[in-house]
């Protein structure tokens, strides 16, 4: 069975108010924000600065190790985001909990300003696809810096991998098959059980 989860522009507005306002609490003593009751501090960061982590690392160790280092940080972020969201009250049937948690991913991302996306999940094959039709915030920031020949969003690839794996209990890896920073019209992340490593 194929599942498809979308966020309309209207829903994105609603999610923005929910995710970026209702779920944020401010600790005035620390001057620090907390999200969704989690103990991790949360802050606003320019998307271009997330891209800078990749760019700086690329200059030192090359694209492939830099990609994985960014991916791993994104992975933890996605995993923890799903972990916190798993504690939100929901009315989904018990046997639908995993898919329900996966479905929350795009509304949280659009509400947090990462980009509006659609998630497709085929429970027969286990394949999962996250498509950001307008690009991710990081991809858009990277595009402003100039066109690249390699994807700019390994952080987001790691994030969707962490979110997906925490939701479905899988061990999938994600690859960026399309990226706006390369001149593609959208950013697409697709799951794979095992990726054959690629030479430069």
């Amino acid at each position: 069975m194929k599942h498809r989860f979308t966020v309309t522009e209207k829903e994105s507005e609603v999610q923005f108010r929910h995710v970026s306002q209702d779920l944020l609490t401010h600790n005035p003593r620390q001057g620090v924000n907390y999200w969704g009751g989690a103990e991790y501090p949360t802050m606003l960061v320019w998307a271009g600065r997330i891209y800078d982590f990749l760019r700086v690392l690329e200059g030192i160790v090359g694209y492939h190790p830099a990609r994985m280092q960014s991916y791993q940080v994104g992975y933890t972020s996605g995993w923890n985001g799903a972990e916190v969201s798993a504690g939100f009250p929901n009315d989904a049937p018990a046997n639908d909990g995993k898919v329900h948690l996966l479905s929350l991913g795009n509304s949280i991302l659009s509400g947090a300003g990462w980009g509006r996306c659609e998630i497709e999940y085929d429970d027969a094959t286990g394949s999962v696809r996250w498509e950001f039709s307008e690009g991710t915030a990081i991809g858009l920031a990277a595009r402003q810096e100039g066109r690249r020949d390699k994807p700019a969003c390994p952080f987001v690839a790691g994030f969707v991998a962490g979110w997906t794996n925490r939701s479905l209990g899988t061990k999938s890896e994600f690859q960026e098959t399309e990226c706006v920073s390369k001149g593609d019209a959208r950013c697409v992340f697709e799951s794979a059980e095992y990726l054959r490593p690629r030479a430069d």
């Binding site: 209702d22 090359g62 190790p65 994985m68 791993q72 939100f88 925490r166 030479a199």
Partner: protein
């Protein structure tokens, strides 16, 4: 609205390990185990160019994952340095520590072989063996 509580679960990075096809995995394990007869050999790992572990002989995945990520960074840094200094392609790297040696070599264009050896290991013999194994790993990876 109820404030959700953060629930701790297993370390997320532990779940990043992505297993290669079983046949390939066994073939690589066999190749790595073949290095046991090199005097001073401790452990070895094959990693993708991005640092994601493919196969290893370490006692814990955590240890292997850390080495693989660092081996990829070593190769990446060495290649960048070579390009910067116009010294040509990267061949291999030997890092000497007080207690041991780390030998890192590309196993074809898609993978890296990292070997941990005792400080007293015969480096010449180890290099010879590691070069042979790296070549075979390259061939194995071409099969998939």
């Amino acid at each position: 609205m109820a404030v959700p509580r953060t629930i701790r679960s297993g370390a997320p990075l532990e779940t990043i390990i992505v297993r290669p096809p079983i046949d390939l995995s066994e073939a690589l394990r066999e190749e790595l185990s073949g290095m046991r007869n090199v005097p001073g050999w401790i452990s070895a790992a094959v990693t993708r160019r991005d640092g994601l572990a493919i196969q290893h002989t370490f006692g814990s995945s955590h240890e292997a994952n850390a080495l693989c990520a660092m081996a990829a960074a070593i190769v990446g840094s060495a290649r960048s340095t070579g390009e910067e200094l116009r010294q040509g392609a990267f061949n291999y790297s030997v890092v000497q520590y007080r207690d041991g040696l780390l030998l890192v070599m590309e196993a074809g264009p898609e993978a890296i072989l990292a070997c941990l050896l005792k400080r007293s290991a015969n480096l010449g013999l180890a290099l010879l063996k590691v070069t042979q194994v790296a070549k075979r790993i390259e061939e194995r990876l071409e099969e998939i």
